[in-house]
Symmetry: C2
Subunit: 191 residues, 2 copies
DNA sequence: TGTATCTGCCTATAGCCTATAGGCAACACG
DNA sequence: CGTGTTGCCTATAGGCTATAGGCAGATACA
């Protein structure tokens, strides 16, 4: 009987899990499904992962990292509304291209893990965007929260199909929303 | 052997499911848990519900209805920023008081069910709020989407603990955000 | 009040999920 | 070329959804 080892590793499992998430949804990412994918028995996965929670955590960290990279790249060299738009689009584009990973990025991490994750970079980049708007604390924190809310809210409602009832194009509402945010932030600038 | 019937019904199961959702999370609402709660065998529930999807759908419809009632009550007799604030607070207060039901209200319904749900009232009320801002189409649709995004985004990030890293009070950011939205909408008013 | 029907909850079963314990063979290294 | 490590295995158990079929409590009607 010719038996070749599958060559599993936490990294390969995470990668495959992320792809599965995009195809079938983050909640369909199970050890069973992954075992099937690698043509391996479920128990074998436990040599590489403590449990299914670790798998989800790893996918979440991977997605946060990947998304942060894209946002950083999009924002580089831009300022003001230009930077705001690039930031927002990077977010939305990622969620549309990788819905499962985007969901994964919202997976609730325990505080320590979160503190060591790319989530920190996300917060830093949001504050960097706001440099163009001259906001003093606590306004800057308020603005970070508002931006995060709008982007996450829009993207998740859009993904849920909430914007397909009328024939107003979602793209137009998105541009309109970014305009409004830019104006709102400029209005808040410290004199 | 004294055997009394448990007196189950779709309504009682939905109610109990909603309560369980608030206590343990919407994803913890299972037929098993419900059967334990009523001290009944799981199979018995299938006389009242087609399957677990129907249970979740019923809880979702219940939550949408309840939330719409609260919003309607909060908004009644108000206009302009006053109405906007009442609308927003009704939303946020509900999500904080009933996190599981709020999650349930976001459960994805099939189009027919959604069309017959209180979700329709939510959309109508959002448009009613905007009457105070004199927006012509398609701006009104854009505004509905933006408001929905901010409210849902804020509430869900707040619930996920995303706003507890700094010591800026979430309440202040919320008020600041509503101020900004009000200003942004007034700016869009048709001249 | 007796009896027939209906229906609510039951047992039994099966499939899919996570998880643990313990075994054997493929691989890597001296 | 042996020998130890480790990658994947079988076996097992517990929790979840779901279906089929059975019995007894509730109800309705003579």
């Amino acid at each position: 009987m010719v038996v070749v080892r599958a060559g599993l590793s936490p990294e390969r499992l995470t990668r495959a899990g992320a792809e599965l998430a995009d195809e079938a949804g983050f909640d369909q990412v199970t050890l069973s499904a992954l075992a099937r994918h690698f043509d391996v028995k479920v128990a074998s996965l436990y040599s590489h992962l403590k449990n299914s929670h670790e798998l989800k955590t790893r996918i979440a960290l991977f997605a946060l990292e990947e998304l942060a990279d894209r946002v950083a790249h999009a924002v580089a060299g831009r300022a003001g509304k230009d930077a705001l738009t690039a930031f927002a689009n990077a977010y939305r584009d990622y969620a549309r291209a990788h819905p499962g990973r985007y969901d994964a990025a919202r997976f609730r991490l325990d505080p320590q893990t979160a503190a060591a994750s790319a989530g920190v970079r996300h917060a830093q980049m949001a504050r960097a965007i706001l440099r163009g708007y001259d906001l003093a604390e606590p306004d800057q924190t308020h603005a970070v929260r508002m931006l995060g809310s709008v982007f996450h809210g829009y993207v998740s409602l859009e993904a849920a199909g909430g914007f397909s009832h009328t024939d107003v194009a979602s793209q137009d509402s998105w541009a309109w929303t970014l305009d409004s945010l830019d104006a709102a932030l400029r209005r808040r600038a410290t004199p």
